[in-house]
Symmetry: C2
Subunit: 191 residues, 2 copies
DNA sequence: CAAACTACAGACAGGTCTGTCTATATGTCA
DNA sequence: TGACATATAGACAGACCTGTCTGTAGTTTG
């Protein structure tokens, strides 16, 4: 999935990043930190050092850039997943997510923010974020099966809700988010 | 709390709502359904049937309207809380929230959406939403104490994370949100 | 060399946004 | 009746938004 935007993780070579990559590199943090509607195309192209015509040559509209960024963000998070070949791959997944959430730079989940900002579920950006979340649930369930847990579907769903709450709390509270009990809560939900 | 915006729940009398109330009545659903930045002042005043000068007479700026709406929304949700004099006031609280979340019209939590749309924590709207969430945690803890649970602080925090996840999931998935296991998860977190 | 592609800078159009302003009407109270 | 507060309608300014367009430069490819 989203292999097209992750096509050069192992082959950065030595040539400079393409205009398209520079645009995405510039847009990502801006969108993540300030929101999609708050950041205009002009800011993105200024940050990327790219001409406006170049931007619209690569992305027919701002919405296309947003969707491309969402897919790229999924690629990033997928690349940061812990291995699933240990004895407790689901527990490892949850622990890794909690570490990410507790990091200083974390501002919550960009997919949640997308859904909040584009409330219509048929908006391309919302739909893309929703698809990501479905795959998260599927991954949780897959790891629950690997971990030989009974009722893997239910376990995955419970943990999904908890993790969503963790992201929301980080967005709301920042570094002071009340996450002390998150690990304990996850243990109780795994059963 | 927020008694100033809830000053007429028992005394609607028979006089028509004031201009300020009509503005808030019109703005609330628009903000909730479409987002704060997506709804302009012109839309609000058209929906409220109010002149622009009247609007800016009651609210010095759009941000002031947003904060007023957040406080009013807290008043609404506080008024819908289940009584706390039963044997399990915390369990009742969680059950009531889950019922709200499962309702057809529910689009998630407006305070979460506020934090997502105004990422800066010192923005008045974000700060107001954050204050609401702090009070939610306090209320959960208060009910945990009433329910004579050990470690009420930890229980409140765990349940808070779960409920935040429920709101986020509703915003993301809509009526298809994966909430089947939410009640079971809450039971496990209460202990 | 020539053609094709891609990048650059930046003006521009058309629309929307917040917030201010003028001017008028209505209702209340002294 | 006269003064005042509050309502109305709507034009307006200034900023910002997305997306298009003109024109130029450099680089790759046949």
């Amino acid at each position: 999935m989203s292999s097209d935007v992750q096509n050069t993780p192992e082959a950065p070579a030595d040539r400079p990043p393409s205009a398209r990559e520079r645009i995405l590199d510039a847009a990502g943090p801006l969108f993540y930190r300030e929101g999609f509607r708050a950041v205009g195309v002009d800011r993105v192209i200024a940050e990327a050092g790219v001409a406006k015509a170049t931007f619209y040559n690569h992305f027919p509209s701002k919405d296309d850039l947003i969707v491309a960024w969402i897919e790229r963000a999924e690629g990033f998070s997928a690349a940061a997943l812990p291995p699933d070949d240990g004895p407790t791959p689901l527990t490892a997944y949850v622990a890794a997510m909690l570490d990410v959430a507790r990091a200083e730079r974390c501002l919550g989940c960009t997919f949640q923010n997308t859904a909040a900002e584009f409330s219509a579920r048929d908006h391309p950006a919302h739909a893309a974020a929703l698809a990501v979340k479905r795959r998260v649930i599927a991954e949780l369930e897959r790891r629950a099966v690997l971990q030989a847990l009974p009722e893997p579907k239910a376990v995955a769903q419970r943990l999904f809700l908890l993790l969503e709450g963790v992201w929301a709390a980080v967005r709301m509270f920042g570094p002071d988010a009340p996450l002390d009990t998150a690990r304990d809560a996850a243990r109780r939900l795994i059963g």
